[in-house]
Amino acid sequence: MKRGYLKSSPHFFRLIKIALALTVLALMALALLIPAPLQEQANLARVPNPVKSAWFLLWIQELVSYSKYLIYLVLALAACFLALPWLTRSTADSARWFPRECRVVNCAALATCILVLALTFVAMFCRGANWQFVSPF
């Protein structure tokens, strides 16, 4: 065995088995505590107010509620996301947390995450009838 290396069996496989078991058990336990919601039967004649999209799309809904042209910001973000390896110069011979050479990308990624979380929060808790801003408290 080369220096610094370990046999996958049992070292790596043990980790995989533990992670798998813990994830499945945690989800099975949480599913007991968090029941899936079920509202009344779908009816096109009864439009709720406000109408909200699925939670993972709420940030886009919030964004386009300011201007429909902001959808192009979402598309630009998606394009940058796809092209990330070609937008930055390869620097390190091994991946590590917060490399100094990638400071700009890291800051942009964290800022985008914070923006998405903030927009999701506003859309989820601070939007009432007619998409008016309401206090979450």
């Binding site: 994830t23 009864r46 109408v51 959808i71 050479e101």
Partner: protein
């Protein structure tokens, strides 16, 4: 035999420092675990779900009221789908913050991006299936968002030819949700793992 096959999917040896949890946090593996759990719970839900506008909601009611463990199974599937998306986002963020997307891993980055978008699409198509008010209007709003995009109108027409929640659109969402997107997710996950192994000599394995 199955154990031997699974062992062959992985390298014989791994770098010791790559097994430290503080580097990968196991996020990709946990997301894949969620995908397997979703497949298992979804497979069981298929025995009761009926993909037609008139029968979908009653079939969910039947599942929740008359099938032993039916309500729990649906809760598990829904919760696992949320956690799956969260874990994929966190895994993507980890890949960015560790610079693991850089060349020569650019192909695997693209595969990961495809997995990310497919996971969101899978969540979206599954949202409609219970056919309750939440499902209908969340899907309708998603379609309005799609419509604001360039070529969104054409995409919308392909996905919902007769309106959200109508027979053809529900059937399309159903087939996409239970067959086409999961198959693509599993195929691309396999490719993702294969590419990680292929690049092992250049960057840390995980």
């Amino acid at each position: 035999m199955i154990e031997d096959f699974l062992k062959h999917l992985f390298p014989r040896a791994v770098l010791q420092r790559n097994l430290t949890l503080s580097y990968t946090l196991c996020l990709g593996g946990l997301a894949f675990t969620c995908l397997l759990l979703l497949a298992a719970s979804g497979l069981l839900l298929l025995f009761y779900y009926q993909p037609s506008p008139a029968a979908a909601y009653p079939s969910i009611l039947l599942l929740e009221s008359s099938v032993w463990g039916g309500r729990y199974l649906r809760s598990l599937h829904r919760l696992a789908s949320h956690v799956f998306l969260v874990l994929i986002v966190l895994h993507t963020l980890r890949v960015i913050l560790t610079g693991a997307y850089q060349k020569p891993r650019q192909l695997n980055w693209l595969v990961g991006c495809a997995l990310f978008f497919l996971a969101v699409f899978e969540g979206y198509t599954g949202y409609l299936l219970p056919m309750d008010q939440l499902a209908l209007w969340a899907t309708q709003t998603g379609m309005e968002l799609l419509h604001t995009m360039p070529l969104g109108g054409a995409l919308r027409a392909a996905l919902v030819p007769d309106g959200v929640g109508e027979p053809a659109s529900l059937l399309r969402f159903y087939v996409l949700h239970i067959l086409m997107i999961p198959a693509a997710l599993l195929f691309l996950s396999g490719l993702h793992f294969y590419r990680i192994r292929k690049n092992k000599g250049v960057l840390p394995y995980l």
